[in-house]
Symmetry: C2
Subunit: 336 residues, 2 copies
């Protein structure tokens, strides 16, 4: 391994000079700097991240948290898209990405301890159980954090605009003549709460009554549970003309249940999803849904986090709202 010392010997200068030259310090003569840089390149020098982290207290490494527990893991397209974009943006800015979790090997650490152990300059919490004390600890620590769809006091967060998104969807089906709308939602998280409230508020504003039996709980990303909810809804005396699903994937469970009942989409029943993952637009019929801009979410998260890391003195916590867009698709029929 080539170190700064090797270069200093080769160039006949001190290690300090080499370090300065390599880091573009202003107090090194242009020609010395050039000679050193060339030698470094020629010898195949690579900085040692560990040594640097130890000395500077900065690792140029940011942790990401995609909870393994709550089913919001990286194997869902929405989250993997976010991971991809946060990774791309972080790398562009010179940072690497490391996963943060609980219990590494023998040592039992919580999230904060893990991040600390790895000298993470910051952590992006994309999906987690925000009621977990371990998450609170991390988000009230000295480590910069950015959370997705959940806010901690004096912390930055990226907010996918659930309220607007749901309102947009409701208005869309309303414009297509629907007045009897069922709503299947996911587990009761704060995101769910926002979407449900927005659904109810928009319905109220439009003069749509939502009977209690039209609102059912299922599990995010679990087609089976949404299938069951769909069945319950179809057994009602007064069937809705349109069903909202917790997310695009859950819709698939509803789809097969509707088929079992011999109902066609959107001929007999209209449906909408949520997320707008690529899959939803590859299905036929194309799903009517609201696309959350996963790429922008990841990008903004990385930007916000690194901004805080690099400018702690001028940094102000902010909530960045990322707008999505309606994907009209073909699963909402105009029954006006």
């Amino acid at each position: 391994m080539i170190t700064i010392t090797d270069i200093s010997r080769e160039c006949g200068v001190s290690r300090a000079t080499v370090s300065k030259a390599l880091n573009g310090a202003p107090d090194i003569s242009a020609e010395t700097a050039k000679r050193i840089r060339e030698t470094a390149k020629r010898m195949g020098y690579l900085p040692n991240a560990a040594a640097r982290a130890l000395k500077m207290g900065r690792s140029y490494n940011i942790g990401v948290l995609f909870s393994d527990a709550t089913g919001g893991g990286i194997s869902h397209e929405y989250f993997s898209l976010i991971l991809e974009s946060v990774k791309a943006e972080a790398e562009r800015l010179g940072y690497d990405i490391t996963f943060i979790s609980k219990d590494i090997g023998a040592m039992d650490m919580d999230y904060y301890e893990h991040a600390k152990y790895r000298n993470c300059d910051g952590v992006f919490i994309a999906s987690a159980d925000f009621t977990d004390p371990a998450i609170s600890r991390l988000c009230t620590s000295e480590i910069p954090t950015v959370t997705l769809d959940y806010s901690f006091d004096s912390r930055s967060s990226i907010i996918s605009d659930n309220v607007n998104g749901m309102e947009t969807l409701v208005r869309f089906v309303y414009e297509n003549g629907h007045r009897k709308i069922a709503f299947i939602h996911g587990e009761m998280t704060s995101v769910t709460q926002k979407r449900l409230a927005s659904f109810r508020k928009t319905c109220a504003a439009l003069g749509i009554a939502v009977p209690p039996e039209y609102v059912r709980e299922a599990v995010y990303h679990d087609p089976r549970s949404s299938g069951l909810a769909t069945r319950a809804i179809l057994e009602l005396n007064e069937r809705p003309t349109c069903i909202f699903y917790p997310d695009d994937l859950s819709f698939l469970g509803g789809m097969s249940e509707l088929e079992k009942h011999g109902l066609s989409i959107p001929g007999d029943v209209s449906v909408v999803g949520y997320d707008g993952i690529p899959l939803s637009q590859v299905l036929r019929p194309r799903l009517s849904t609201y696309r959350q801009a996963a790429e922008r979410i990841g990008e903004e998260a990385a930007k916000a986090l690194i901004d805080e890391i690099e400018h702690p003195d001028t940094w102000i916590p902010q909530q960045i709202t990322v707008e999505g867009e309606l994907l009209k698709g073909d699963t909402v029929r105009n029954i006006g």
Copy 2:
């Protein structure tokens, strides 16, 4: 930050003693060790990964490479499942996961340099362009590597059994009476080559003729291109009774094309996919496909890599074949 020095002061022993006690060295008295460990816990001591890496030349960090280029990125369910399982197993064994890529920030590094810079103890290459010289460099370096579905000399690799998998699929549709089988495959990688050869070989063994126009190239994970291939196949004078798709997702492109032609699955045309991702079993009809055991692949990869890292002297490169399984699904009709 609490360091070993703090603990040594608190306990009235030397830093060396603390270090030894914390690492379970045999030459520390039981009671001293206990006292030190308790104090460490009480004071909230955490080891510093950077310092440790610098001193020991071991980072307990392994790099993963999920190429951004070839569309084999983490946003495909198959790869994200592998990532999840390699992460879980690595963490269980005390290792963290960091993404390896090209060009971090301003410095332009290749994969090898990046891994070196981060002191990765090893790298798992899950999806990459194996013809890229940068990959060869990494896989011929001193850094332990494990590759997926591609072998380098004197290196370990995990091989998803494409030959067996394809043979199983062919025999399955054969048993269901199919003799006119079309084959849409992905870009010509070594995996593709194996699958295609196995397809042809099994067909030959079963006495099935495969006319050239029944074999078409598409792009992995791209429903649109598989849709186009499907169209071309449907325009043939002699239509096949069964179509093989490059992967489960690609099948969706075929599905909508078949629908456009008013053909039902499997009533008019039978189809099979490849991968067996969860999505494939949530669709209706359930896709007949071959499931690659993503969880086991990731687990074996982590095991193999860490085994090499921790026992370099007794280590022998090996190719670990991971068997998959046939998912019969409902898209192959018995026309016998």
